[in-house]
Amino acid sequence: MDEAELIGRLRLGEDQAYEELLERYLPQVYRLAHGITQDPMEAQDVTQEVFLSVFKKVGEFHGKSSLLTWIYRITVNASLDRVRSRQRRRESVPIEAYLPSFTPEGRHAQEIVDWSEAPLDRLLNREARKKIQEALEGLHEDLRVVLVMKDVEGFPLKEICDILELSLPAVKSRLHRARLVLRGALSSYFQEEAGSKGNEGSR
């Protein structure tokens, strides 16, 4: 069934429509919730919350955006609510430690090691993934949302703007900053691992 029909049937409260909704959108909603919360259990709770919300509130959906955009928006908001309500902040390293630094002339102040061509199994090993996840968790949630949507889940920039109701420059600015932090965290890890005494990401 097409989107208009699905919406119509959801409004009628049809269970078949609800099942269809789950079939179509469950994985995407879960992945997005997982990326933002960085917690599989919370992501499951958020996913349930989102589908209940959609089912209850479909009467309020006016079709200004697509159904999926609306669902993603609910998912982002529900995930952020969870993250913000956590009492424990997971930030372990100040973000500035991972940002690049420059001389007064604007040149790189630190050694920039190119680890990009290391073998894939080294780049994706458990420790590296742990490091990137820690950095992701330490990001402010506004930066994390954009990075997760673009680089983890592959949303186009325009769609991110629509879902988050942000301008393109705002989205790009957050994305760039988040990427710089994660790059810095990975550089710090790879340089430490290599036994190098490079300054990037040093405490």
Binding site: L22, Y30, R31, R107, I112, A128, L136, L186
Partner: protein, 86 residues
């Protein structure tokens, strides 16, 4: 945005890093992209920075969970069944 008239010839490394997001998204105007390419050819630190920046975004792709927990769909379907029982 810096005033073009005051900018010294060629971007600084700091200015290059600032536009890296646009660069890898293919959103820089052609002349700016050429300027960046030219800077990269003469600046090994910036080239390394670009390559590691790009690789970071690729590594992020691997963070997406491969599988959806099997119990999740069941949990949501059970909710549906409970609704039907009412």
């Amino acid at each position: 945005m810096k005033d073009r008239g005051e900018r010294p010839p060629g971007k600084s490394c700091r200015a290059i890093v600032e536009v890296l997001c646009d660069y890898i998204e293919g959103e820089l105007p052609p002349e700016e992209e050429r300027e960046l390419d030219s800077h990269m050819a003469d600046c090994p630190p910036c080239l390394s920075f670009l390559k590691t920046y790009r690789k970071t975004t690729e590594i992020c792709r691997s963070l997406s969970p491969e599988e959806i927990p099997a119990e999740l769909k069941e949990r949501l379907k059970r909710f549906l069944e409970r609704r039907q029982e009412r």
